[in-house]
Symmetry: C2
DNA sequence: GTCGGTGCAAACCTTTTGCAATCTA
DNA sequence: TAGATTGCAAAAGGTTTGCACCGAC
C-alpha cells in the first residue's frame, strides 16, 4: 500500500445519481402502474419511451432507487419479485391466483407485537392475502 | 389385450413414491430442524446420513413432498426460499435481520377479510414479522 | 478532461431437466 | 425384467458484473 486512500474528489464529472432519460422512464413506468411491476414489465413499459433500454439498466436503477428508499420490493410467495414506488404509506397486497395480478390494499390490522416471542424486537412486518379478484371470482 | 389385473395393479417395478435412504435423510433433516431450511441447508444436513447425495435429488424430493402436502414453502422477502414440514397447524414466521434465522410463531390475528376489496374472495394469507431475535437484540 | 451512466455480453446462482446406471419388487 | 430413483452434467431463468463507449459537467 504505497499510497494512502484519497478522499472523495467527486465534483469533476457528472454528479452521482443524476436524472437521465432511462431513469425517468423507469420511474414513470412505475408511477403509471397502480400495482407492483416485475423488472421485465418495467423494462417493456420504459422501452416505449427510451429505445434500446437494457434490462441491466433497469436492475441497476431499481437497486439504486431501492437503496435510496424511493422504491420498495414486493415479494409474493410463489410469484416473481416486483417493485413499487415507496411513499404511499403503509399498505399490503392481494395476490389473485386467477390473473396473477397484485392489488394494493388499504389499512393494516397492525398490532402484531403480541405474536413476537419474549425478547424479540419487532421492527416491521409483511402481509400478503391470496384469493381471487372480483373479475376472476365471477368466472 | 393382456389379462386385466383383479387387485390393485401394482406395476412391475418399484412402487412410486417409495421410501429411500435419500428421502428419509431429507425428511429427517427437516424434522430435526425446528425452523424452515433452505435447499442447500437440507442438502448439507442430509449428506451426513447419505453420502453422495445430490442437490437435484433434494429439489426433486422437496417438490414431490410439497405436491403431496408433506412440506410447505416459506418465502421470506429478501431471503432465500425455505421449506418446512407441513401439519404443524396454521402459523407464521419471524425473520431475524441479525442472524438471518427464521423462527416459528404461534397464533394468528386472523380475520383479514375486511382488508379485501369488495367482490374479492379471500382464500389465505401469509404473514412475516421482521426484527431481531432475543440473542441478536442483546448484542 | 473526468467521471458517472448505459448497453452488451459474459458471469453467477438457483432450480429444473435429460440421461445412463442402479436398485427393488 | 420393468419401472422408479439417483447423480451427474447440461440447460434454463433471473440477476449481477466487467468493460468499452458516450455524454454531462
Amino acid at each position: 500500500m504505497a499510497s494512502k486512500p484519497r478522499k472523495k474528489q467527486r465534483r469533476k464529472g457528472r454528479p452521482a445519481n443524476a436524472s437521465t432519460p432511462q431513469r425517468e422512464a423507469i420511474r414513470a413506468a412505475m408511477e403509471a402502474a397502480n400495482s407492483p411491476l416485475t423488472p421485465k414489465e418495467i423494462l417493456e413499459h420504459a422501452q416505449e419511451h427510451v429505445e434500446g433500454l437494457g434490462l441491466a439498466t433497469v436492475y441497476r436503477t431499481l437497486n439504486l432507487l431501492a437503496q435510496a428508499g424511493v422504491v420498495q420490493t414486493v415479494e409474493i410467495p410463489g410469484g416473481a419479485p416486483r417493485f413499487e414506488l415507496a411513499g404511499k404509506g403503509h399498505h399490503h397486497h392481494f395476490y389473485c391466483r386467477g390473473c396473477e395480478r397484485v392489488f394494493e390494499l388499504e389499512g393494516c390490522p397492525g398490532n402484531f407485537a403480541e405474536l413476537s416471542p419474549k425478547g424479540f424486537n419487532l421492527e416491521g412486518h409483511e402481509l400478503v392475502l391470496f384469493g381471487t379478484c372480483d373479475a376472476c371470482g365471477r368466472r
